[in-house]
Symmetry: C2
Subunit: 277 residues, 2 copies
């Protein structure tokens, strides 16, 4: 199954646009889990088991594993997801980007080493650096376009001559016209900038969009939906990380995460057509 087929299936089967970001921070993991041999994996597994019927994807953030000497926990998490929940796609959030011969190695990292279904990449270096990913029809290529952080406009919003388009719109145009020849492209459009999200949706038609920035970053769910849904009332992968992972801190933290995920799923579903119900 390709990434897109998995995504379409999970959207429909779970009637959900919610993606849970697996960004485990040891300093915030509930105390009682500290007795486990692999604290981070134990935490992830409980979160996953509590939410797998409520989501369209999981998105582990590479940096949290790399920065905490826990890449083994990342690998175990992806193996667990693939074995236990093979119908939920996994997006490795690593924001890779490098010259062609190096990009091939990053594709091997994401798809051979971690067996992710998709990986996030950065477009700054240009089309040839994306090609090793774009050429692989089985895996999703999630390209940064208009990100959710406060400084995202520093470069992404610059107006480009002669078209008068903004840089992120130029990225979106390239994604729609030149890069999606295998139907595997997804763009990142932050929830915190709904007008820019709307501009991207207009440019790319029904291409799926990964939307970070609801929850801890403050993005408004209703604005995301009114500006970002595709023509079928889906097309979005709406990510929440901290808002779900740290919904509770006690021994019932997984139940609290489940409730936060249900709440987000329902808040989203109230504002979209019930096509997938």
């Amino acid at each position: 199954m390709t990434f897109l087929q998995k995504l379409e299936g999970a959207w429909k089967d779970n009637n959900s646009l919610v993606c849970v970001g697996l960004d485990p921070d040891r300093a915030r993991i509930p105390e009682h889990l500290s007795r486990n041999a692999d604290v981070i994996f134990s935490f992830n597994r409980e979160i996953i088991d509590a939410t797998a019927d409520l989501v369209c994807a999981y998105k582990p953030q590479f940096a949290f594993y790399a920065g905490q000497n826990a890449l083994g926990s990342l690998k175990k998490t992806l193996t667990y997801l693939r074995d236990r929940y093979p119908n939920i796609p996994v997006i490795l959030d690593a924001k890779r980007g490098d010259i062609g011969s190096t990009a091939v190695m990053y594709a091997r990292e994401a798809f051979d080493q971690y067996k992710a279904d998709a990986v996030t990449v950065n477009p700054y270096m240009g089309t040839d650096t994306l090609k090793p990913f774009l050429d692989d029809p089985d895996h999703g290529v999630v390209i940064l376009c208009r990100t959710s952080n406060p400084g995202s406009g520093d470069f992404q919003d610059l107006t480009v001559q002669p078209s008068g388009r903004k840089l992120f719109e130029v990225v979106a145009e390239k994604a729609a016209k030149d890069w999606n020849y295998n139907g595997n492209v997804v763009l990142v459009a932050g929830a915190t900038y709904p007008a820019e999200l709307a501009a991207i949706r207009t440019i790319v038609g029904d291409m799926p969009l990964l939307v970070p920035g609801v929850g801890a970053q403050g993005g408004d769910v209703e604005a995301v939906l009114s500006h970002g849904l595709d023509s079928r009332g889906a097309g979005l992968i709406i990510n929440s990380s901290r808002g779900i992972l740290y919904a509770g801190r006690g021994s019932d933290f997984a139940q609290a995460s489940r409730e936060a995920t249900v709440a987000l799923r329902d808040e989203i579903n109230r504002s979209r057509p019930a096509v997938h119900a």
Copy 2:
């Protein structure tokens, strides 16, 4: 010692602007090393021992280790460099870039896990995503500006309103004016685009530039020097990876790498003032 102090010292002590890119590809490592328990580390160690008196820096490329399940070899390589050659700075080429809370984790990866002296980062997401790196005066922040690959112009060369500057020039201006408050910023300027390298040098004054793209990528050394040297006849970290690593394939590969490094160092030194001789 800060990254910049180490770099200044190595430029001077070794009278060299050469950086060796440690991008080991198992498929190209000499056959006779395959009996070693850690083939990649054994290869790196021989290359390092053969070149450490000839270089101003080493630049291991993260992707080659991540894609070949060899992050342990990367860690061993950095430990070896730090213990054996503490005066040669190490730039971890990982091209990281993410929102602030995640960038903090990437800084921990580069500086706590791998104990690199500097790391490469991607500016597309904006100033706040660079801040965790910029705020650390001890470590170098090597920011992509105008890269060496064929598609680097796709976005980096777009002309931006109202200044009429190109995107990479806007990045260079920000680096010089806003980002270098700790004197730890280096920009990437590909050897394959000497006119753009010259434009960057004009904007940033004597800021150090990391120049990939000589050797296998075809950049011309003389053009790099005539367009890129700083006011003291230094200021460049000129990287070669494949041209040095794979100069020989037999049991004397390390000697061949040494000779290739000497040749590049001397070619460079012939075209610059002998201030550091």
